[in-house]
């Protein structure tokens, strides 16, 4: 039922959104240095939903920062064949001086997209996250879940190909850094369903960082477990289309593995 895949998977020739080859990241130097990531090999296929799972300090966020171009790897290579990855952070981090639509338009504005085109795209993206008609609201007038949806629409706006319309040759990639962990349980549940809907509607690849095993199994097609300090890929599970009993047993299995990884740090 649960296909355990080795970390070094045989790569297919299918188009990949991003590929890590022996990626390492060290913070600081000399004796004070901390190895955040070590020899990470990972790939996300175009349109694939991959969840990165791990305890705190496993370098999940570092990994996302590397893909997003917010930081540089110390060793190894990252092949990014997608257009600029879109990033959703744990906090919505909306610009408080802009309306919801203004926030979605911001990346388009910085990319020099014309006003009417910006309006049209922002309205379409707000519709996609079910916030059509609320574009005029300010962030403080929205609930936490709505803010995170605006942040998602904004991230999608930043990845959209502005030069050509439609047929983007490059696969798009969405990076999400524990985007729902600051929300209450029922909002999180609704947003998870929304995210799956948007993923199916847009066909974007998603690299989703979380520390919640249940969330990872529910959302992802593949779950990748990272160890902590240094972060290495421990194991991968194929969890696509699991339901009922097999889903529960997979969650248990991943949980057990995660606990084993964490307790190895106790000594």
């Amino acid at each position: 039922m649960t296909a355990t895949v080795e970390a070094q998977r045989v790569r297919t020739e299918a188009q990949q959104a991003v590929r890590f080859d022996g990626v390492g990241k060290v913070f600081g130097n000399g004796k004070q240095s901390v190895v955040a990531l070590d020899q990470v090999n990972l790939q996300v296929e175009a349109g694939e939903f991959v969840c990165l799972l791990g305890a705190s300090g496993c370098g999940k966020t570092t990994l996302l920062n590397l893909v997003a171009g917010l930081d540089n790897a110390s060793s190894g290579t990252i092949d990014l064949s997608s257009s600029r990855p879109a990033v959703v952070f744990q906090e919505p981090a909306l610009m408080p001086w802009l309306t919801a639509a203004g926030n979605v338009e911001l990346p388009l504005r910085m990319a020099g997209v014309g006003r009417s085109e910006r309006r049209r795209k922002a309205a379409a993206l707000l519709d996609l996250v079910r916030l059509g008609g609320l574009g005029g609201k300010r962030p403080h007038e929205l609930s936490g879940g709505m803010r995170q949806r605006v942040a998602l629409a904004r991230a999608l706006a930043s990845t959209a190909d502005h030069t050509s319309n439609g047929d983007a040759q490059k696969p798009s990639l969405l990076l999400m850094d524990e985007p729902f962990s600051a929300l209450d349980a029922i909002t999180r549940d609704v947003l998870q369903a929304e995210l799956l809907r948007i993923w199916r509607a847009t066909g974007t690849a998603i690299l989703f960082v979380t520390h919640d095993v249940r969330e990872a199994v529910r959302l992802g097609q593949r779950v990748v477990l990272l160890s902590s300090r240094p972060g290495r890929v421990v194991r991968e599970w194929n969890v696509d289309g699991l339901t009922g009993g097999s889903e529960v047993s997979t969650v248990d299995e991943i949980n057990a593995e995660l606990r084993r990884v964490i307790s190895s740090h106790a000594a």
Binding site: A93, P107, R130, R138, I186
Partner: protein
């Protein structure tokens, strides 16, 4: 990607959608600001009445103290005598000249300060060397009363407008620059990071993210900068009096002292107060309020 959804799936999805819509409705913060003429009038009254009552009370106490004749007439003038002075300025139109001389100096001085202070503040906030080098100096200048520069300014420039502008600049530039620096320092670090992730260039990040994010702190600095430039200007006008300089409010006050006319002195103080407070209330308060309200940072007053 998605095959035909079965009936249960569609029902489940519709259910999830209605839960989502319900959550949106429940979690959206309510705006408690009532509109309508009655509510607006009530808010206005609540805003205007207390200061009016306070001023009336103060004038009443003043009148009573004067009537009790505890101090001699040349120390405490009658409110009516002070009012007569102000009123004669109004009827002769001299008040326009007084205001014009002082306010245009303050505005020009403030504008020059702005031109100097904004690049200075940006440099202090963004360049570590500059911050370490002159950051403490600029903060220190803020606590040095700029009136201390009056003797030096007169010796350097003589008794003219340049001396006065020098004093005003040294009063206003440090507070505007410091306001901008603290505004930039208080920008949550996540915002520039988000900007970078959204594809902002270095300049784009400053223009679209950093500057608007720093605006509330910057406005606070502007407000304080205005207060400092007005204060410095009055001090400079009061000390540096000369026929070449024209008569502003500071000179008017100085004349009152020379003539030992306490009612003239009181009228001068009141006029200086009115201009300083008036510009803050008419220009800076509405600006600040609208910026704060649009960001959901409403202030209580």
């Amino acid at each position: 990607m998605q095959p035909e959804a079965s009936l249960e799936e569609r029902v489940a999805r519709a259910d999830a959608e209605s839960v989502g819509a319900g959550l949106d409705a429940l979690d959206t913060p309510l705006s408690e600001r009532a509109t309508g003429p009655a509510a607006v009038a009530k808010r206005l009254a609540a805003r205007v009445l207390p200061p009016v009552v306070a001023i009336a009370l103060m004038i009443g106490i003043w009148q009573a103290l004067w009537a009790a004749a505890i101090w001699e007439e040349y120390k405490l003038p009658a409110p009516s005598a002070v009012w007569a002075n102000i009123w004669s300025l109004v009827t002769t139109g001299k008040i326009v000249d007084l205001f014009w001389v002082s306010v245009h100096r303050a505005v020009i001085g403030f504008a020059i300060s702005l031109v100097i202070a904004v690049p200075l503040g940006l440099a202090i906030a963004n360049l570590k060397v500059v911050r370490r080098g002159i950051g403490p100096l600029v903060s220190g200048l803020q606590s040095l009363p700029s009136v201390a520069w009056v003797p030096a300014a007169i010796l350097w420039f003589g008794l003219n407008d340049r001396a006065i502008y020098w004093v005003v600049l040294l009063g206003a530039v440090p507070s505007i620059a410091n306001g901008l620096v603290s505004g930039l320092d208080q920008v949550p670090p996540i915002l520039p990071r988000v900007g970078q992730a959204l594809g902002a260039s270095r300049l784009g990040g400053i223009r679209y993210i950093l500057l608007p994010a720093a605006l509330p702190g910057f406005l606070g600095g502007l407000k304080q900068g205005w207060a400092f430039s007005w204060r410095s200007l009055m001090a400079a006008e009061l000390i540096a009096t000369s026929p070449d300089l024209g008569e502003g409010l500071g000179q008017y006050l100085h004349n009152g002292m020379s003539l030992s006319d306490i009612s003239l002195v009181f009228a001068g103080i009141i006029l200086i107060f009115v201009v300083g407070v008036g510009i803050e209330l008419l220009v800076f308060r509405p600006l600040e309020n609208s910026v704060l309200r649009s960001r959901g940072l409403t202030r209580s007053t």
